[in-house]
Symmetry: C2
Subunit: 693 residues, 2 copies
Amino acid sequence: MAVFNRQMDLMQQARASSTFNPTKLTVIIYDNEATVSARRAAFHRVEDALGLLDNMKLPHVYSGLDREGLYLEGVRRARVITNDMITHGHSHFQWLNERYQICNSSPFGMNFLMFRRTIELQGTAEQRRYWLQEIDQMRINGAYAQTELGHGTFVRGIETTATFDVDTDTFTIHCPTPTSVKYWPGGLGFSCSHAIVAARLITHGKDHGVHMFIVQIRSLEDFAPVHGVELGDLGMKMAYNGTCNGYARFNYLRVPRSSLLAAHAQVSRDGTYCQAQAKVGTLPLSKRVYSTMLDTRRNIVRCVAFGLAQAATITARYSIVREQGRLMFSDAAEEETAIIKFKSQHYRLLSLIAQSYAILFAAKDFDFRYDQLVREQENDDHARLPFMHALSTGLKAWATTIASAGATEARKMCGGHGFVALSGLPEIEGSVSATATFEGENYVMWQQLVVYLFKQVRASCAGQNVDAEVEDYIGGVRSYLSDGASPSRIQSCDKKTLFDGSTLVLIYKKRSQRALAAAYASYRDMCNRSSAAEAWNACMMTSLAAGQAFVEYIVLESFMKRTSPSATRDAPVSQALSHLFSLFALITITSPTPSFAAGSFLEHGLLTRDELNEIRVHINELLASLLPNIAALTDAWDFTDSSLCSALGCKDGNVYERLLSWTRQLPANSGRAVEKAWEASEGIEEFFKASRL
Amino acid sequence: MAVFNRQMDLMQQARASSTFNPTKLTVIIYDNEATVSARRAAFHRVEDALGLLDNMKLPHVYSGLDREGLYLEGVRRARVITNDMITHGHSHFQWLNERYQICNSSPFGMNFLMFRRTIELQGTAEQRRYWLQEIDQMRINGAYAQTELGHGTFVRGIETTATFDVDTDTFTIHCPTPTSVKYWPGGLGFSCSHAIVAARLITHGKDHGVHMFIVQIRSLEDFAPVHGVELGDLGMKMAYNGTCNGYARFNYLRVPRSSLLAAHAQVSRDGTYCQAQAKVGTLPLSKRVYSTMLDTRRNIVRCVAFGLAQAATITARYSIVREQGRLMFSDAAEEETAIIKFKSQHYRLLSLIAQSYAILFAAKDFDFRYDQLVREQENDDHARLPFMHALSTGLKAWATTIASAGATEARKMCGGHGFVALSGLPEIEGSVSATATFEGENYVMWQQLVVYLFKQVRASCAGQNVDAEVEDYIGGVRSYLSDGASPSRIQSCDKKTLFDGSTLVLIYKKRSQRALAAAYASYRDMCNRSSAAEAWNACMMTSLAAGQAFVEYIVLESFMKRTSPSATRDAPVSQALSHLFSLFALITITSPTPSFAAGSFLEHGLLTRDELNEIRVHINELLASLLPNIAALTDAWDFTDSSLCSALGCKDGNVYERLLSWTRQLPANSGRAVEKAWEASEGIEEFFKASRL
């Protein structure tokens, strides 16, 4: 144990200043006390098994590994958490692993997430009976091979073929072009024995479009690729190096007819293709696919809240103990100041903390709606599915954009030390950043939300039914469209009311309604002069900004709900969260999320210049009141030192001794790097370069 | 050579649509034709020597190397470029290496940049005579060891001591605490034989503050660390892994008295300390240090323009050949569309291209002013130094913020493929991002600019002299302060005038003047109620936003100057650059750089809502007119395929075949990763985890 030092003292002081008990907030974050305890126990077992409990010891993942070493370490960790989940019968690492990375960053992560689920959804009863058991017993590990080198989200573009041959009663899976090589699927490179392969089904020369096939890709004896498949890894990535995102090139691989997942389409022995909307349970396939995507997206939203919170926690702890420089114009005799006290750091840090809670509460609120949806769908009521689908796309795009930018900001706030792998921040930044481009690229996501909103507006204008969830909201949009009026300013300018939660939510609502009305009006006008597709493209940037404003309104509303004393059951926690809520609302007004309509809080006369100035003053007050709670607000996430994997972010605040200790343990420092560079030369001058200038 | 394919055809078409000759723009970027030719020849020689001319061959740096391998590859490359510069007597790789990374990313990069320069500046004539020759002959390689584990930009906080011992006539260099260990200096880990060490000079028990010492740290015989110094590398970083940023822990290392760089302070044989403002050349030390910092910063600004342009080039080429999906509402029968035609991609890409030129031209304009300053300083006229220093801090902060965000955006625009190292984008993103936190963290930089501007405003209000460069500008600020008026709206609303370059520059000027006046007024008011330091801290976010608005005004003015036909001497180039200039100006209005006053174009009534709508329409027109020039605007930077080091960004557009080829060549794919993971287990179930659920 380190001798108690200055940094540890600063950390302890920061905790002592808290106005609430962070454990109460931990229970809110993880829903109940039982989960908090069970998770703690699971983390302890896993970290013990992995040899990660001594936080002065360099984590193996930072030992400067090559591609293969990083992968093997990924396998080692994934085995331990999988084992723990099975042995102790829990699912704490199902979505977020022991480092709070999304499960697709694990070599076994796609097995349940996509592989099993696809079979469940699209397999016949017989197929499900056989395969699900194989998966659940972990006798096989599956990948989901849809994306190709030249084809991403646009499924219809997929080129890989599965051609039925009547003579042999087999499909031949083949990649006819470089662009048709499967590229990116998680676990495909080294780890998976099987894969769901998306391919165009061809019988008797006719292309029936993309279908799913279950294909063995590696021998279960020696794990070599089966004949007819070339498999490999994509090499280093910004993060996710513990798994082997890979490629598969199928070269006339023959698979039995039973490989086709045949719940909804069959090929008979004579090659006849037939499509049957056989129901699995009560839902038709299309709706079940939608529901699966919903489930994935809501989990991504929740996961990135934890990713951003991890980055904010490391940066908060470092900012509390890092003393560096003095305020401008301060007395030359003054001591150096902890950087958290510089307004820029203080402001940026609390912005990130507020955003992490905003994402978390938005996810919780969405989960609540989702559970309701599932119950309705069990009764064959799918009315709310379109709204929920649209909202999930917008939330995914918004949350991953915010979290990704926030993780980068957090890393920059740690200066040079943040740039070093040992800080843990580059890995978190990379992992969070990936979510902005996977499982639906964000600009595709935004478009899906706005198309939904436009359809609702059009329906409303045509006097047709509008989805219940947005009826009131769309009504407001239509009134702006019909009278062309700017939104009436929020009634009162009186300070108390301006900063009320409900006033803030109303400001956000009116702002987004006006933005949506303006975007829809532009699009509609453009439609008179060009095709709908051209009009859509011409107005896209304005439309996407309106989608973003809509999501920000929903997020703010969710945040407010969760801060009330009735929701938290603890007055001091409620007070801190309310301050955080107000801060989030106000900084998003003064420093809007970048978009094509960043001025939308102002340009429609929603706020006056005086109100803006009041807002800036109030932000400063909120920052001051939240400063004593920074340690508590980040401690509440209950991250273990090992999960943060950061020399800068351990709970004790002992930043410098740990950073130095980890650095000294780096294998390169006891290796032969210098000698090798030196030996390759003939002498000192040659080492540096060669001879005379 | 690859067979001509679809992607190569799309690339060729994109080039054919250009309205100007990109070579003309290349000459503008590199100043003259001779430089363009000489640079091309140098790149060819170096890439030939490094075995990088075959762009279907996997670059060694992507072969999944461990920490040591990445460093050795860095040494290999650095030797080749250093050799080429010496053999062929040029300096093309002095600031930007063969991958357009800043020279401090090389293991020999600090030798000239900081080590030599410090000796030049602070050494006596004798010291200079001896050391500069050693450096120029490359007999030694030096680091600049100032930063400590606990101390960054705040030099006065440095703890390492150099205590003079009269008996032995030596200094003892020592790190008394963990926080005093030197941490981060480039090349310090493995590559440097010597270092400039910043340490507190102590004689006869008295601390004389931080001084510079030249210290040998490794043996020139076997390159082992000398006794009394522990040296090591910091491990993996987000980028810069070709060099060994390192640490040095001095443990009572004895060095001769002559180690003190003694041009400005000496210690005599009896330990007497004396400070003498001995002039080196005509400039006093403080002014020379300022000038050195200026020189470093202006080079960083120029360097990040190239970094952002590299990212934009890769993304442009990928967007031209990547066909993915169709526009919303388009006919189901339509073919997939090149993603560059989606407005979101089109808009984001041209924003980045415009920003890269904005940074480049701002750097060129600053260089022009800098050359003038150098001439004035040779005549002992330092009047413009404060202004130039302030402007350099603001430009550095602005350019590195924009470039860093832009490189991230470019990577995200390539979706999953951008996340893979082979795209080249993660390395560019990491390298550019480092500039936001090194050589003056950006929030420290902004503050220095604003302090300067505040001082000028105060002088103006007190009727004192204002620096000539800002006299007119500050006059405008003062008038807002005195009459409290909002800036008169730009006179004409007539469309033609609104989009004139001079009108746009005027809008930027007035916006920044108003923001500065408001920030200064807040600060001044706060000073009446609290100390200057507290007032500064309270108002900081508003003040920094004003600084940012000032820089954006200067940048826009510089951009305009460089687009005129008289500047480019080519009408088609001028036209394309003018469109780019307008686009840059207008998107910064509709989508302002994030700051605490992102609404500052709107809140002071500078633009009406109708004008904003006109601006949005005009942006669409500009995007349409620039679309055919995207290939030409990026080709003009003249990046070699090898310098981009990107499977997605080669000039021929042959994206998929190259990505697949490089992937197949990855050593991990012919290695034993799978077998190792398998062997560590007892069977298939154990490989995945262990038995039953």
